[in-house]
């Protein structure tokens, strides 16, 4: 492999955005048949570099060579023609179109200019099949869950004539089992000589996949190391600091019940007959495969989903059917998993997204906004979350994905809560920031709040939670605590709900 021409080579790539240098003379080299991980903190410039490779953005300076030839990629179509294809961090799906249409978008199989709908479905079916994803081909994409959308997104990039495949946090919303097939496919591609650029914050994925790792920090190239480099070393390279431990020690819970749900069934039947409770000072995990109903169970607790049956109690007080506003007044807060569609006010200053539910608390007579104290508190929280760049008055859409996620979490930390329901809280957040987030969650629990973590990231659930409820097909299939919380048991209950009796 020594004299091989690199599949992709970038030199001196720079890119500025208003107020930020996203990339500063970055070099990057991708060999044929290797998986090359891009690693760096949130806002380090990974996604920006990737958009330039994929033709989705232009660089201010620098050159791109594909298979040794200098090329200028003016748009995605150019890149695709040269065999470069990408899964972007933010979904790029057409919500009103079907899954099949989305998978083949831009390259519908056609004969003599006539699109064959049969061929479209076959191609989509094959792509999804290769990845082992089972998604109804005719469902409009807007009706899918985030995880399913992620799968469609991945399927779009797996084309037949690939030379370079770029994956920007493709598994952020998938859980381990669902990721496995993807890893295998990446391996297959490598063997066929396809170079894969892979962005991830999950150390496990680096272990599993990386041939080499390029580290970026603050838009600058730091170094490229072999994939076997230890996690501690990678984190040190990324943050410039040594990080001893990711997960904090979690304090023991109290025995007072904060929130309890009995026989919860949602209107849309996504959850049926689920009973669970959260105690003060306790961190409870909701695990489950995609579409298992874990999110909907959490949403129902915060008044986001309407109930068909069952009831909810907060500190022994009935709060069944409370609206979102009432829940917030009861200090029950739900953070949505999809920061773009349900979380942030994208074209408003980031500050406003953070203080949104709490505006009443920052107002005289709940009407006149005290802008000064709002600004101060939001700035404090975001500083603590290590927002980069630390300027809450930039529009939310101008932040990197991970930083948007931090801001969303900041929303929950802005005010003290009784019950905090975090749905996929650390999607796309870098390891360094995750440490401080986990620490905050532990602190909040210690402060007496009940915390629910809904997550597809199994390690997160395993390490952070006192107890775990496992969901399958809308029902709770297991209730694990203490030593019972381990990977095999959780996985087993996720998939075979009939083997164990539903827990009441």
């Amino acid at each position: 492999m020594t004299h091989q021409i690199p599949a992709l080579e970038m030199t001196g790539i720079s890119k500025r955005f208003p107020g930020v240098v996203a990339l500063d003379a970055v070099d990057f080299q991708l060999l044929q048949g290797e998986t090359h991980v891009l690693f760096g903190e949130n806002g380090a410039g990974k996604s920006t570099l990737i958009s330039i490779m994929a033709g989705a953005a232009s660089s201010d300076s620098g050159t791109v060579r594909l298979a040794g030839r200098e090329t200028s990629l003016r748009n995605v179509a150019d890149a695709r023609r040269l065999g470069v294809s990408a899964v972007f961090q933010e979904f790029s799906l057409a919500p009103t179109l079907s899954v099949a249409e989305n998978v083949v978008m831009g390259e519908q199989p056609s004969r003599a200019g006539v699109v064959s709908h049969r061929a479209v479905r076959e191609l989509a079916h094959r792509r999804l099949g290769e990845l082992g994803f089972e998604i109804p081909l005719d469902a409009p994409v807007e009706t899918l869950t985030r995880a399913e959308q992620q799968m469609v997104e991945i399927a779009k990039a797996f084309r037949s004539d690939l030379k370079v495949l770029i994956l920007d946090e493709p598994t952020a919303s998938l859980n381990d089992t669902e990721c496995e097939r993807l890893y295998e496919l990446v391996g297959d591609l490598n063997r066929r000589g396809v170079g894969v650029v892979y962005v991830t914050h999950r150390m496990g994925e680096i272990r599993r996949l990386a041939d080499r790792v390029t580290v970026l920090r603050d838009g600058r190239y730091v170094t490229t190391v072999p994939g076997t480099t230890s996690s501690e070393e990678l984190i040190r390279l990324m943050t410039g600091r040594v990080m001893d431990q990711i997960y904090p020690t979690i304090p023991p819970p109290t025995s007072t019940v904060a929130l309890s749900a009995v026989g919860l069934t949602t209107r849309d039947q996504a959850v049926s007959d689920a009973s669970f409770e959260v105690r003060k000072g306790e961190i409870v995990g909701f695990a489950g495969l995609m579409g298992s109903g874990k999110s909907h169970a959490a949403r129902a607790c915060a008044g986001v989903e309407r109930l068909a049956a069952g009831h909810l109690e907060l500190h022994g007080r009935r709060v069944t059917g409370a609206s979102v506003a009432q829940s917030l007044r009861n200090r029950v807060v739900y953070l949505p998993p999809d920061r773009k569609s349900e979380g942030l006010l994208l074209n408003r200053p980031l500050r406003e997204s953070v203080s949104l539910p709490w505006l009443g608390r920052y107002s005289w007579a709940r009407t006149l906004v005290r802008r000064r104290s709002e600004q101060r508190d939001v700035a404090d929280v975001l500083r603590m979350m290590k927002l980069s760049p630390p300027d809450p008055d930039r529009n939310a859409e101008a932040y990197s994905g991970g930083n948007q996620q931090k801001a969303l979490l900041g929303r929950a930390l802005l005010r003290e809560c009784e019950v905090l329901l975090l749905d996929e809280p650390t999607v796309g957040v870098d390891v360094g920031a995750r440490v401080s987030i986990y620490q905050r969650v532990a602190d909040i629990a210690e402060g007496g709040a009940g915390v629910v973590i809904v997550s597809s990231d199994l390690p997160e659930v395993l390490h952070l939670c006192h107890r775990v409820y496992v969901f399958c097909q809308g029902r709770i299939t297991a209730h694990l605590q203490g030593d019972e919380i381990n990977e095999e048991r959780v996985l087993q209950h996720m998939m075979h709900w009939d083997e164990t009796e539903a827990v009441g």
Binding site: A54, A77, A79, R80, S92, A94, V115
Partner: protein, 349 residues
């Protein structure tokens, strides 16, 4: 909205209720609000006026609305791509005066009627294409907001049409033009209706079976996603506006044939009317969805309601009020359909 069966009822009564409303709900969810509203309109107006449900009247109502239906198709194409066209009315006027001027000039210059007609048709289509191209450049290339761009060109094209004619109808068109394109009929159905049907079928096929057609939906649904899939949203949008311009020209030519003159003050209502018809036909103003048949049905519904009210001699104030109510109800009913479908899916009906 949908009645959920309450738990306390005896099971038998419950069962029956489910069956009756259930069947109705299922029909509703299947066919949508539009055919039902059309049926209601037909029944109501048939009761209000004995002349409504005659072959003659229905044929005449459809013929009157044939060119509107074509312009609704033009609007439809643009809406699917996530655009908006407020200039369809002005383009109609401009095409009308341009083609009429061309025909009457040719005729005056001694051409044969057939030659004059062919040239007039060509000029009309070219003007429509050109007007569409202006929109296309502004929206597709310069990325000016479609609402503003077409509002601007609406003003510009109307100014041009007036400049050409000073508001005086252009007369002296070949009689054949009007006879063939305005008043002839084949197998008992008049030509404008045939042309509208042909336009709808062609457009349907283009949107369904060609790649640019599919791209239109993709761009309308999420331009950024389309871009990241290698589709140029700008170029696709430009294509939509040019197609739209040509379709408007077809409608305008039919109208000119019916009026027998080129008119600069026609079409003022068309922009909002065509959008309303398309939306009633289930097209989303956010782009990326809608089907040709329903858009045409939307135009037919509005046309029949107006015709019916005219026949029933409803006072013109009330006509305005009724039309407003029909619009709102049609869209509301479509929303309701979504709910009913969801309820059926959730097994609650």
């Amino acid at each position: 909205m949908t009645d959920v069966v309450v738990e306390t009822k005896p099971a038998a009564a419950r069962k029956r209720r489910v069956n009756v409303t259930g069947a109705a709900a299922r029909v509703f969810a299947r066919v949508g609000a539009l055919p039902i509203l059309l049926a209601i309109a037909v029944v109501v107006f048939a009761m209000l006026s004995p002349n409504f449900l005659t072959v003659d009247n229905l044929q005449s109502a459809l013929r009157q609305n044939a060119y509107i239906a074509i312009i609704v198709l033009a609007q439809f194409v643009v809406l699917v791509a996530g655009g908006f066209d407020l200039s369809v009315g002005s383009i109609t006027a401009l095409v009308s005066v341009a083609s009429a001027t061309a025909m009457s000039d040719r005729l005056a210059a001694g051409s044969s009627p057939a030659e004059a007609i062919v040239i007039g048709l060509l000029i009309g289509l070219l003007v429509g294409l050109g007007a569409g191209a202006v929109n296309a450049v502004g929206i597709g290339m310069l990325k000016i907001n479609p609402f503003i761009m077409t509002l601007a060109t609406a003003s510009i094209f109307a100014g041009l049409a007036l400049k050409v004619t000073a508001g005086v109808p252009v007369s002296g068109l070949p009689a054949d033009f009007s006879d063939v394109f305005g008043y002839s009929s084949w197998w008992g159905v008049s030509t404008p209706i045939w042309i509208a049907i042909a336009a709808a079928v062609v457009l349907w096929a283009l949107l369904r079976w060609t790649r640019p057609g599919r791209n239109l939906y993709a761009v309308g649904s999420n331009p950024n996603a389309a871009r990241l899939s290698g589709i140029s949203p700008g170029r696709t949008m430009a294509l939509a506006y040019m197609t739209s311009g040509v379709l408007v020209a077809v409608g305008a030519l039919l109208l000119t044939a019916r009026l027998q003159t080129g008119e600069s003050n026609i079409g003022a209502d068309l922009p909002l009317l065509s959008i309303a018809a398309a939306v009633i036909g289930g097209v989303s103003l956010r782009g990326g969805s809608g089907n040709v048949l329903n858009a045409v049905l939307g135009a037919v519904l509005l046309g029949l309601v107006t015709n019916g009210m005219n026949l029933a001699r409803i006072e013109s104030y009330y006509e305005m009020i009724v039309l407003g109510v029909v619009l709102a109800v049609a869209v509301l009913a479509d929303r309701l359909r979504g709910r009913v479908a969801a309820a059926i899916n959730a097994g609650r009906v």
